[in-house]
Symmetry: C2
Subunit: 224 residues, 2 copies
Amino acid sequence: MSTKKQDRREQILSVASDVFATKGYHEAKMDDIAAAARVAKGTLYLYFQDKRAIFSELINGLAVQLSMAIIPVDTEADVAAQVKHNIRAIIGVLAQQPRVTSLLFDQASGVDENFRLKTDSFYRTLKDLLATSLAEGQRLGIVREGDPKLYASMTIGGLREVLVETRQKRGSKRTREQVVEAFFGVLEGGYLRLGAMRKGPKRRVYATIGEAPRKRPKARSTDG
Amino acid sequence: MSTKKQDRREQILSVASDVFATKGYHEAKMDDIAAAARVAKGTLYLYFQDKRAIFSELINGLAVQLSMAIIPVDTEADVAAQVKHNIRAIIGVLAQQPRVTSLLFDQASGVDENFRLKTDSFYRTLKDLLATSLAEGQRLGIVREGDPKLYASMTIGGLREVLVETRQKRGSKRTREQVVEAFFGVLEGGYLRLGAMRKGPKRRVYATIGEAPRKRPKARSTDG
DNA sequence: TCGTAAATTGACTGACGAGTCAGTCAGGGG
DNA sequence: CCCCTGACTGACTCGTCAGTCAATTTACGA
């Protein structure tokens, strides 16, 4: 009955998140998902409109959870605690479903035009929410002067990167709480303490990406 | 001669960056690029191995420029100035080619497995470079105690997001220098100034993405 | 046990798009 | 003026894959 169908649905979603996260949206074929779910391809279409719908449901579910986890900061109460709560909540939600998180972060904007817009608007919503709170905070004198949107971007971006990083190392030494504290600490006081001095070596590193060979064979080529 | 070929090559690259940035890698068809470059599809293959190679060259060029723009911080000299210089340099490079920047940030990891790895390793290189400098800074007492990798992630991520944001608004009110100063300011002192208090409203916003309809028609469906 | 509905299957189809290549065209040298 | 060369063209090929649906299996109430 309804429960069985629901189970199957969730099983497919779960498996799909795995396949999508491993191969990326475009390289994940419906046949791959079907195989991983130990089901025939046709079955997928009994539960979802199309490939996009599966992906969409995953991403969307996470987005909703994230939005709900965040509480707008009430400036009457303990601000620090609330900010920490939000950081903690976001980390908590994302840590629970690392695979879907990677979809949201790495894959979503590469799916198609439509998804890019959606993703952008999701981030924008988050940033606007934060920026508004920060502007409010500035009025109260508890947030540094300056463009609150820029602060919002820095914060969301910084958090995002930390989470991506964290997601990749399973046996992360950092406790979730340590991350929360460290992150909060930077928001509160930055990390540069210019004052002292001494000596130091130099380094220069060149980072490069993307010249690897592919599968399809031959092709003529020319160059100036 | 060589110059003509070189010109054509660059023309194609330039046009391609536009098409890729507008449509995303997978939705950008070789026919689109050819049309935009006012050239036949076959011509593209006279200058590049394949689609991937065009994209690769774009991304790679930017990555190299970025790497070269960054100077490892010399702790003997004026650290603040050097840090600012780096922020400025990164912003400068990316601001010069906003379209390619968006490819690196939004598209690259969605192209294929291989590109994802490359992109990851590029970011890792940047972060490692920064983290190393920060660790050095900690030894000198000019960087707050705590996991330097986490600080590095926050910084790179924050910068990235600010740049993405900036890239989107053409008529950005923020001067480049203002962004540099603001960013540096946060690194130096954070933005939260918890102390004062007063009143404030509340808000709650739900952000959602990805349920939009697609082109392909029909399909059976079911739900529990 | 049988009959019906629901669930599942997987071979098939149709679209699509990257890459090819036989042929055209432009220009410049003789 | 004609031919040669090399840039350029674009119709075509061919593999791929999302989505379909007739056939089959399973579930279950009578």
